[in-house]
Symmetry: C2
Subunit: 215 residues, 2 copies
Amino acid sequence: MQDTTPQTSRGDDTTRRIMDTAAEVFSEVGYAGARVDAIAKKANVNKAMIYYHIGDKKTLYTRVLHEHFGQAANRMRELLKQAQTPEEKIKTYIHYINQVMDENPSKAAIMMREMAGGGRSLPDVVVEDIATIIGSVVQIIDEGISQNRFHPVNPMCVHLMVIGALMCHKASRPIRQKLPHIADAMDQMAAMDHGDFVNGIETLILRSLTKQNTA
Amino acid sequence: MQDTTPQTSRGDDTTRRIMDTAAEVFSEVGYAGARVDAIAKKANVNKAMIYYHIGDKKTLYTRVLHEHFGQAANRMRELLKQAQTPEEKIKTYIHYINQVMDENPSKAAIMMREMAGGGRSLPDVVVEDIATIIGSVVQIIDEGISQNRFHPVNPMCVHLMVIGALMCHKASRPIRQKLPHIADAMDQMAAMDHGDFVNGIETLILRSLTKQNTA
DNA sequence: GGTTAAACTAACTGTTTAGTTAAACTAAAT
DNA sequence: ATTTAGTTTAACTAAACAGTTAGTTTAACC
């Protein structure tokens, strides 16, 4: 039954529900494992509506990837303009990645599945975005090294430690919840929210990069 | 056509081919996305042989997880016995994880998919193994802190940085190969082999953990 | 009230899928 | 040569699947 509150066209509302639900399902079982019927049922729409509003399964998946990962590099570049030192830029980068992943609970899992799949389904525009983000990390690290504030380091190690830790942390919440004895063994971790985890990552990354002689 | 070289029963050879191929297919598309017909075709066996030798799809997947991830904690515990200092133990731990992932190209991708899926399909014995490994990391970090050699730190940050970086590195090779301009931008990374990457991770982890006053 | 375009639906199609079965084949044992 | 147990196979089943269609409903417009 349609909600009667005034809003954009009914179609827009339907499309939103389809997109959000599709992201959830794709994050749970991946593109190949996702069932259009399952997406329709979970979104509480008739399956034909998916084809009417968006298109076939592949088109739906591509739009989900665009929506979640497109433009990520542009937004990061804007934020980096406001940071002065390499240390500040690294902080900005880490917190930005964390924020992007927190925008939607499905993002981290979809990223992990795409990575596990070798990025075969990633649209070129998303791949370019990833390349631009990595390029930014390379620039920050190079700047830090050239200013003698950072140790010489492989930027890929830094990037994958950040990306990997944050993705794994967010995607593995169900595993941690499944293991109360793990939670017991690390009770301050079990109680830890996102902010603390990303601050811990930030501390470790900066400590591993930064030379001691900097103020 | 059967190979005529003397070996164990033909069934053992068939089971081996099925298990290896299943691991590949599960790593490529996940459990839900894998097709039994595709596994059979790739393993060059009739589909019914999978049911005869191993069982249904879920049984096959569970055996693949056991084979790849079972016993991992025991082997690590044995190796850790030979390390003295917390620094040595951290090194042992990082290189052991790296070695486990290198045993089979499918491992990292399967781990990532399982993590992305919240570990829903993980057999309990594998989950216990993961818990034991994490417990070991907690012990090492606690030991380092209590001996005043490590900064106070969330072991989960350390563990997920190590696991995350290594998994992402191994699983993302096809993406790096897809992007020659990324390779160009980081040509020393593009040429980097496993050893250099894990050594980079080791350096960063130790530097982020270790207090400066230690020799 | 009538018209129309957009949104939505139940039922459908052809294909794909996991899993099974009866029969054939193979190699070892006699 | 025959028997037997283990291995393998082609063909099959019922259900699931992506995608389509003809028709209905809804809401905006006049």
